[in-house]
């Protein structure tokens, strides 16, 4: 870069000094970004939070038609023992009617790819703004589709936990789970 420093006709080519300015400036910017990263990343979930243990639940006491709520990673986990009627309703819905199309079967399959339509296991957190939908306890409103109803902003889910009406964009989340026996399920 040994360009002559005398400008020709008032217009100068990039000089050695320009090059040094750009190179130093770029290095400073990269350095600033690299320094900022630990401060930003520091706010991400910590290792102990990430390593939160999974939960094991004995589902045998849950009668057909009943549901329970378990605490998993600080969030409610819904486990519903669905009736044949509820399974039939969920199965009968054409995918074209769904905002977030998922078959009922794909939502009741565990990590071993075994389908258990009677057990619906979901994170009980509305996908709109994070409220806990009603409908898991007897007496609570289940909404117009017989599943769950979020009182905060009016989202309603069907018997497969799929969003049917209201502002929520997604179905209730299915966590990774595995039935280690017919009555014990390990979530997380």
């Amino acid at each position: 870069m040994a360009t002559p420093s005398i400008p020709a006709g008032g217009h100068s080519d990039p000089t050695r000094r320009d090059f040094l300015m750009v190179a130093t400036g770029s290095l400073a910017a990269v350095g600033a970004a690299a320094t900022a990263w630990p401060f930003i990343n520091n706010l991400n979930p910590a290792a102990d939070t990430l390593a939160l243990a999974s939960v094991e639940v004995n589902v045998s006491p849950i009668q057909v038609g009943q549901a329970i709520t378990v605490n998993w990673r600080g969030q409610p986990l819904f486990i519903r023992h669905r009736t044949a009627q509820e399974i039939k309703e969920a199965d009968a819905v054409p995918l074209s009617e769904l905002r977030d199309p998922q078959t009922d079967n794909s939502r009741v399959t565990d990590l071993a790819k075994k389908v258990r339509p009677e057990w619906l296991i979901m994170v009980g957190v509305c996908t709109h703004l994070g409220c806990v939908p009603l409908g898991n306890k007897p007496g609570q409103p289940k909404g117009p589709y017989g599943g769950w109803f979020c009182p905060c902003h009016g989202s309603a889910y069907d018997t497969s936990g799929r969003i049917r009406v209201g502002p929520a964009p997604k179905n209730l989340v299915i966590p990774p789970y595995l039935f280690t026996s017919d009555t014990i399920v390990k979530v997380g």
Binding site: I40, L43, N44, P45, A46, T49, L52, T69, N71, R73, G74, Q75, P76, V125, H128, L129, G130, C131, V132, P151, C152, H153, G154, G166, P167, A168, P169
Partner: protein, 411 residues
């Protein structure tokens, strides 16, 4: 204006003169808060900048004292606040001052913003002054929101959950952003901890932006109810003693009303559910934010789409940033804008309606009403303001402030 008033002051006190020669703080105070020429026709709306400043200082003072007893841990937070209320000497008073102080800070700020809008204080050459004000408003909302989470009651917890979840509406990276805000997979201890840290930090950033706001204010001086520039000494009075006294009087009246709430109805503006400890497994039947967020909450819920609702809510504040350029009228004060004046009142009514909708569950006729009010809010800023400035015929402006004031006195 810097150049227009007087010679540098001479200090008789030798210590003051010695200091001022090296660090001109006394000259500065003299120039900016004593002889500073201020329009002579302020009404009481011009008190609210000073009132908001007093509230900021009061919030920092009470907040620092509260922090000496507060525990930012999910297991202890709720109880530590109850302990402040019951066991700490005068803790109840400091807490009630802080809790109600937030509401009264917002009352002062909302009136201050209305003043700026009604009298066109955002117009040239005060656009940056206005924008800094909107920045302060945003910082204030963030601070208030995080402060409300600290007592760790049911409304604290679920308010934090709903508001942080707003960011999950961002396409692709939304959930990562939310996990980053939480420091986990739900609103949990890391969330409370960092909210406390930022709740303590942000007020000092507000102080810095307020300083810039005041510096910008003192470049061209205050606007006034007539919206015309002072043309000479006959149009102005020195800031002290005229407006130090008037501001002082307004501050006292405001503080009396505030004290009325602190002593006689400390929980009137709050929500009883926040005296139930946070429970991550049970959402209260009806989540409402604090009253000062209700209009924005109504806008959020009015749009039946997650991302759309979030964008509309932030857009409601976003339009304020560009307000100086949306308003095409060259007349500042609504006093001389016969049509816009009524639309300004209509906007206030619209915001109140939004607030009422936000306070009620999204059912029945509240839903279409909130949608209509949201539509009108954006119509006002994005369509009405640019067009009206072109077609409205303003009333004739008085030749000077002194002229208008003296005529009013005579008539």
């Amino acid at each position: 204006m810097a150049s227009s008033h007087g010679t540098p002051p001479v200090f008789n006190n030798k210590v003051i003169a010695w200091i001022d020669h090296r660090l001109p703080i006394f000259s500065y105070l003299e120039k900016e808060y004593h002889t500073f020429p201020t329009p002579r026709n302020f009404n009481y709306f011009w008190n609210f900048g000073a009132i908001a400043t007093v509230m900021l200082v009061l919030m920092i003072a009470t907040g620092v004292v509260l922090a000496t007893n507060y525990q930012p841990n999910v297991l202890m937070a709720f109880d530590s606040v109850e302990r402040i209320d019951r066991d700490v000497p005068q803790g109840w008073l400091i807490r009630d001052l802080h809790m109600n102080g937030a509401s009264f800070f917002f009352i002062a700020v909302y009136i201050h913003i209305f003043r700026g809008m009604y009298y066109g204080s955002y117009k040239a050459p005060r656009e940056l002054l206005w924008i800094l004000g909107v920045v302060i408003f945003l910082l204030l909302m963030a601070t208030a929101f995080m402060g409300y989470v600290l007592p760790w009651g049911q409304m604290s917890f679920w308010g934090a959950t709903v508001i942080t979840n707003l960011f999950s509406a961002i396409p692709v990276v939304g959930q990562s952003v939310v996990d980053w805000l939480w420091g986990g997979f739900a609103v949990e201890n890391p969330t409370l901890n960092r909210f406390f840290a930022f709740h303590y930090l942000l007020p000092f950033i507000i102080v810095a932006v307020v300083a810039l706001h005041v510096v910008a204010l003192h470049v061209h001086g205050s606007n006034n109810p007539l919206g015309i520039d002072p043309k000479g000494p006959q149009d102005t009075v020195p800031f002290h003693p005229y407006y130090t006294m008037k501001d002082g009087f307004g501050v006292m009246i405001f503080l009396i009303i505030y004290a009325g709430f602190v002593f006689f109805a400390p929980d009137y503006l709050g929500h009883p559910d926040n005296y139930i400890p946070a429970n991550p497994l049970v959402t209260p039947d009806h989540i409402v934010p604090e009253w000062y967020f209700l209009p924005f909450y109504a806008i959020l819920r009015a749009i039946p789409d997650k991302l759309g609702g979030v964008l509309a809510m932030f857009g409601a504040i976003g339009v304020l940033f560009v307000l100086p350029w949306l308003d095409t009228s060259r007349v500042r004060s609504c006093t001389f804008r016969p049509i816009y004046k009524w639309f300004m009142y209509l906007l206030v009514i619209d915001v109140v309606i939004l607030g009422i909708c936000g306070a009620n569950p999204p059912e029945g006729w509240y839903v279409p009403l909130a949608q209509l009010a949201t539509l009108y809010y954006f119509f006002h800023f994005l369509i009405l303001l640019p067009i009206l400035g072109k077609i409205e015929r303003p009333l004739p402006l008085p030749p000077s402030i002194a002229d208008a004031v003296l005529k009013q006195k005579a008539g």
